[in-house]
């Protein structure tokens, strides 16, 4: 069995990797060509793509830490997916670099002439300025990469059997994950302020960090379901992954869908009810005019539809159906990010630019390529984990 798990040359994965590279290549090519005509739009679309890939990565890192702390089979079967996803952080950091160059195009507060005539922006300048923004980004990535690196290093050591499988071994994962999760929550919160909220530097909402966190978690769960359902079709995982695992992951995805809706609706209701000039324009932009259909699409596609479908027990136990919903959720994650980013910039006519689809698809393609490469580099299940032996001892034979 152990040798089976080590065999990661699944045709499904190879195929996925190949297709991702093709999508990535054409998407980015279209983006680069488009950048010549629409340089402003290029950076906005790039930001959307970056945030989507970042959400997958950070959500994975967060759930990886969470499952180390909570235990449970859902964590054991998804661990390698999330570890591989967390290992893509360097490439995601690379995706961030163009944003540094596009700052004046993206962020009003990064334009000195805009700050001069605006008292609010001047008041925010100690926080929202180019140097501090860059420094914060460096700190965020350094912390994230350090956590991802350590968790992966220890996990690889487990695979090779270098680390004796003792209680002390699993304590180490937890000892990092507990404070790590707190640091991750705080850094994602501030990153969400920096990279999304400050696109409209006058607007603020205290729930926004949590909303971003839940979005990241949802992306990572949908990713795990999509990947695992593909891998469950063939050995080595076909004999290990049973409907119960998908059922558990489906329940978690349902919980995240509900949590996202709960936080989104709370934010909306409170701002709508207060109707204050600092806050309400952000929503007026999105619920009236060209963006109104996109808002409705989010209500239906990001909440109502997956919610209603995921209530079904039968569906959650069927990997292919569950994966279809997970894929739809991933698409809605991109739409949600577009909805967060794009209305901050004025545009006439149809709200979504073709580059908003091409560039994120391109970046996501490159990301998936790197991710699958990482995934194939290691055993697909943490077979040396002490819990794993206990959990699967009776079932795999």
């Amino acid at each position: 069995m152990e040798r089976d798990i080590l065999n990661t040359d699944a045709p499904e994965l190879r195929q996925l990797q190949q297709r991702a590279l093709i999508v990535g290549f054409w998407g980015l090519l279209a983006g680069v060509v488009g950048a010549v005509w629409f340089p402003d739009q290029f950076f906005r679309s790039w930001l959307v793509g970056f945030l989507f890939c970042l959400g997958l990565t950070l959500g994975s890192l967060g759930l990886l830490m969470l499952q180390h702390l909570s235990g449970g089979q859902w964590g054991l079967v998804s661990r390698r997916v999330w570890e591989a996803s967390a290992r893509t952080l360097p490439i995601v950091a690379l995706f961030f670099v163009p944003i540094l160059f596009g700052m004046p195009k993206l962020f009003l507060w990064a334009r000195p002439e805009a700050v001069q005539g605006d008292a609010v922006l001047q008041a925010k300048a100690p926080y929202l300025n180019v140097q501090f923004f860059t420094l914060r980004a460096v700190v965020y990535f350094a912390l994230w990469m350090a956590a991802a690196w350590l968790l992966n290093k220890w996990s690889a050591g487990q695979d090779r059997g270098e680390i004796a499988v003792t209680p002390a071994d699993s304590v180490r994962f937890r000892a990092l994950s507990a404070p790590g999760l707190i640091v991750l929550i705080m850094t994602i919160t501030f990153a969400s302020v920096d990279w999304i909220m400050s696109l409209d530097p006058h607007w603020y909402s205290t729930i926004f960090g949590l909303l971003t966190l839940v979005g990241c978690g949802l992306s990572a769960l949908a990713l795990a379901i999509t990947v695992l359902s593909r891998m469950a079709r063939t050995q080595p995982l076909a004999s290990t992954l049973v409907p119960r695992h998908f059922h558990d992951l489906g329940k978690l995805m349902l919980a995240f869908v509900m949590l996202w809706a709960y936080l989104s609706f709370s934010q909306f209701l409170i701002i709508w009810s207060g109707n204050l000039p600092e806050e309400i324009p952000w929503y007026i932009e999105r619920i009236q005019g060209a963006w109104a259909p996109v808002s409705l699409l989010l209500v239906a596609g990001h909440f109502a539809l997956p919610f209603a479908l995921l209530l079904s027990r039968d569906l959650k136990r069927r990997p292919s159906l569950l994966a279809t919903i997970a894929a739809a959720v991933l698409v809605m994650r991109i739409v949600d990010i577009i909805w967060l980013v794009e209305p901050n910039f004025e545009r006439h006519g149809f709200p979504i630019h073709w580059m908003d689809l091409a560039v994120p698809l391109g970046l996501a393609g490159v990301w998936v390529f790197v991710f699958v490469r990482q995934l194939r580099g290691r055993a697909l299940l943490p077979f040396n984990d002490p819990y794993f032996k206990e959990a699967f001892a009776h079932e795999t034979h």
Partner: protein, 462 residues
């Protein structure tokens, strides 16, 4: 890989029931508390304190009805003070019961079994204490039905369906109804056990009537399981919805310090936090008084301590967000609100709150303190104080200095405010201790499913 490693610290945590028990010994031990055992001196001492405070409550409410709500300290600009603080505090305490009974059931957490019964009772009594405050704040509670409950709105003025206060009425009454049903349904098999074991005629009649003819047939059990699961499903959203609506009472307004989008999740986490602290406050003395250490084990206390630590972090996250956005917003009123909170005339309450809710629970990182019952009890009391202060800080410091300096004023509670609040604590203690005396505080039949012999027979458990 060749030989199994010592499993002590990661595979077998402390058991949920100490070894050495049989079906019979569990039934005997729990039902004896109600039926035959003499009650410990601690029961009488606590009950005496509770009853004394209840008398204070009767006096305070009596005088309130006689004189009017002018006997309280609230006045413009602080038109809402102890009444709403206590309401939110009590409602929050109830949440742990619902979380334990519903969400932990759905998550198949077997450690909930020994604590769910009295945590659910705690929910009911806490909601009862909470519901008193809006009623007596009207000054004329006999008219409260007219003010609070919806009726054909022919006058077009009241109830105001856009007001979260009216949503509160719905949320709280639903919560109370479902919690009571859930609690009672869970009691039925145990009531039948008590009926069968009671010796005196009138106790047989009493428990027999309450047991609704339960005979424990397979059909009874099948229906029971279905109903219990449905009620758990219904209760789960209530854990979120009730305190969310309570938070809307504040956050849909535009007062700085109230109008914050973080309020719903932050209030819900605070409610669970306060609730688990209260469960610890009750469980630790009760298990000692009645010698229940083999049913409510260190595992339970440690798990509750962990939930307290995690929800405490969400609450502190809320404080951090309020503080950060007060400055990030670059809004004069928002940043003044925070300065006033921390350094204004009530500044000490803010720092005390940070100490109680932010610093003291950090001791729970250490396993040694997490498993020390004395410390857990003290810590739980401190958290309860902290959660009360949180509501005080949110409500009073936000109201007493709002937008216009000309309308600023101070608020001081009167002796009647304090005696009413202490009175509800007395009411809570009295009800809780009466409950312990007349009903089984731990679910007998569910405890029996925790025994090893129950696991071998039933493949799925339940």
């Amino acid at each position: 890989m060749d030989t199994p490693a010592p499993h002590s610290s990661y595979q077998t945590p402390h058991p949920v029931i100490e070894p050495g028990h049989s079906y019979d010994s569990i039934t005997e031990k729990i039902s004896a508390i109600v039926l035959t055992r003499r009650h410990p001196i601690g029961w009488f001492a606590t009950m005496a304190i509770g009853f004394l405070l209840v008398n204070g409550l009767g006096l305070s409410v009596g005088y309130l009805l006689f004189k009017g709500i002018g006997i309280w300290g609230n006045n413009i600009p602080v038109g809402w003070a102890f009444d709403i603080i206590n309401f939110v505090w009590w409602i929050g305490i109830g949440h742990a019961g619902t979380l334990i009974s519903a969400i932990l059931l759905l998550f198949k957490q077997d450690w909930r079994t020994s604590i769910n019964r009295f945590a659910e009772a705690m929910t009911l009594f806490a909601v009862a204490c909470a519901a008193m405050f809006p009623l007596i704040h009207t000054g004329r509670p006999w008219l409260a039905a007219y003010w609070l409950l919806p009726y054909p709105n022919t006058m077009g003025i009241w109830p105001q369906f856009r007001s979260p206060l009216i949503w509160d009425v719905f949320a709280v009454t639903t919560y109370f109804t479902v919690s009571a049903l859930f609690w009672y349904t869970g009691l039925i098999p145990d009531l039948a056990t008590l009926r069968d074991r009671a010796k005196r005629r009138w106790t047989q009649m009493l428990f027999g009537g309450l047991a609704l003819g339960w005979r424990g047939s397979a059909r009874h059990w099948q229906r029971y399981e279905t109903v219990y699961l449905i009620l758990a499903g219904m209760s789960t959203p209530l854990v979120l919805s009730v305190h969310t609506v309570v938070s809307f009472d504040f956050s849909t307004g535009i007062l700085p310090g109230w109008h914050a989008t973080i309020f719903p999740p932050y209030f819900v986490a605070g409610a669970i936090y306060a609730g688990f602290a209260m469960v610890l406050c009750l469980a630790i003395p009760l298990r000692r008084m009645y010698g229940l250490e083999d049913f409510i084990t260190m595992r339970h206390l440690e798990n509750m301590a962990k939930v307290t630590l995690v929800t405490g972090f969400i609450v502190v996250y809320g404080y951090a967000m309020e503080a950060f956005f007060a400055f990030y917003s670059a809004n004069v009123y928002e940043s003044f609100m925070l300065k006033n909170r921390a350094f204004g005339p009530y500044g000490w309450t803010y720092w005390l709150l940070i100490f109680c809710n932010g610093i003291v629970p950090q001791t729970l990182w250490l396993k040694r303190l997490r498993t020390n019952t004395t410390w857990l009890f003290i810590m739980a009391l401190i958290v309860s104080v902290g959660m009360w202060l949180e509501r005080f800080v949110i409500i009073v410091t936000s109201l007493h200095r709002d937008f216009l300096p000309s309308s600023w004023d101070m608020y001081y509670p009167t002796r009647w405010d304090i005696s009413t609040f202490l009175g509800t604590i007395g009411l809570f203690i009295t009800l809780m201790f009466l409950f312990v005396r007349v009903l089984p505080m731990i679910s007998i039949f569910e405890m029996r499913t925790l025994l090893p012999e129950a696991k071998i027979k039933g493949a799925e458990g339940h």
